[in-house]
Amino acid sequence: MSDKKLHEDQKYIDGLAENNAFIIQAIYDKFAPKVINYIKQNSGDAYDAQDVIQETIITIYNQAKQKKLQLTCPFDAYFFLLCKRKWLNQLKKSKGKEVTINEEVLSKDDDAQVLSFETSIFENKQALFNEMFQQLGDACKDLLKATFKIKSMEEVAKSLDITYAYARKKKSLCIGQLTKLVKASPKFNRLNY
């Protein structure tokens, strides 16, 4: 991916990462109508569209902040595929609703398919990671929160009144425990490791 040329629409990704209100506004103005139409044509209403769009934007934001998302395709196609996939998954979950896919609006852009798929995987990972974090004991939770908030391990050790070596060992064992929890989850196979 790194040898591919960045698309000029990367500005939307960078704008989201910077919490730029103009960019967020522009995304709604330019790209939301297509999603709203699609969801309305496929057993949903504007409220459903509002949720799908909002959740999708939060996911893109998280990935952009964390993984330095590199857009090599138009934002339009990437965003639409993500919203569409999210909506179809929701329809599948809520039984009794017939799923109709309007083939005309499907994008044929390969890069958009690949990138949106990566983002969906990223979203699944983050959801599972957060869920498993809640299962950790309080000692691990507190240590990890302190570790990533304070950043300097020396200061973390000081604030928790333990030695540096012990703090670092505990940190790796806590993340190790999380690793085990994630691997053992029934949802693990959705993460593409």
């Binding site: 902040k65 990972k125 790796s172 690793t179």
Partner: protein, 248 residues
């Protein structure tokens, strides 16, 4: 994986494996698929924790900003849909509008005389959390408890939601209201100070609730000091100004 493996993962990520250990580590990454997989998970977990915890404030602000822009964009669309075809969801919306009109009327009538007290101002709008996450039970419980003024129960559910999503500032704001309602002034104050010093769309609402928190405790000068910081473009600016006049 053994404990030692996780300790090595950490040492690798921090960059202080010896040259010899590094070589062995890289070889094992290639030859041992389970080791490799665990390392990838460990790395992603680290990156996720770093983002969620270190950027807590930024994520918080982003979500607030997004909330405001999303509502602005969709309110016009929902209004249109309401006129075209009334559906069960839009009925709810109608009732919500009707209810808030009643609340507003009650508010203005109530407010004509007497010295100000907290009860003149605590007519909080009904909150709606279920539209956003229909599948999540705790959101609907929180909404029900809050709207029927079972604030103690609401706080319990808000805490559950915040455990899973500690940067959800909409919930933090509602929790702070519930705290004021149940006279947990100190905890409310901490939360509201955090919200009102932030850079989010809930900043001014938090200031208003903080002022009410002081009003309820009869701390008039603290109340006035907070009211003064509510800017002209805030939703509660007018009411804040009125309250300030009455307190003077």
């Amino acid at each position: 994986m053994e404990e030692q493996d996780y300790i090595q993962f950490e040492a690798y990520l921090v960059g202080d494996l010896s040259e010899e250990d590094l070589l062995a580590f890289n070889m094992r990454l290639e030859s041992d698929p389970e080791f490799n997989k665990s390392f990838e998970i460990y790395k992603d977990l680290t990156s996720n924790l770093e983002h969620q915890i270190a950027n807590e404030r930024e994520i918080f602000d982003f979500k607030a900003n997004l909330d405001v822009i999303s509502s602005q964009h969709f309110n016009a669309i929902h209004d249109e849909d309401l006129i075209i075809k009334p559906s069960p969801t839009s009925n709810f919306y109608k009732y919500a509008v009707a209810a808030s009109v009643v609340i507003l009327l009650g508010f203005f009538v109530f407010n004509q005389f007497g010295s100000p007290s907290y009860d003149d101002y605590n007519n909080f709008d009904a909150i709606s959390l279920t539209v956003r996450s229909a599948e999540d039970d705790s959101f609907s419980k929180a909404e029900q408890n809050f709207n029927s003024q079972n604030y103690d129960d609401a706080i319990v559910v808000f805490n559950t939601i915040l455990e899973a999503d500690f940067s959800n500032l909409e919930i933090q704001l509602y929790k702070s209201i519930a705290l004021v309602e149940t006279n947990q002034f100190e905890e409310a104050e901490v939360l509201l100070n955090k919200l009102s010093n932030g850079n989010s769309a809930y900043k001014n609402k938090a200031k208003w609730i903080l002022a009410l928190n002081y009003l309820k405790q009869n701390k008039e000068s603290e109340c006035i000091n907070v009211l003064k910081t509510i800017p002209q473009d805030a939703e509660d600016y007018k009411t804040a100004q009125e309250l300030m006049k009455k307190l003077d």
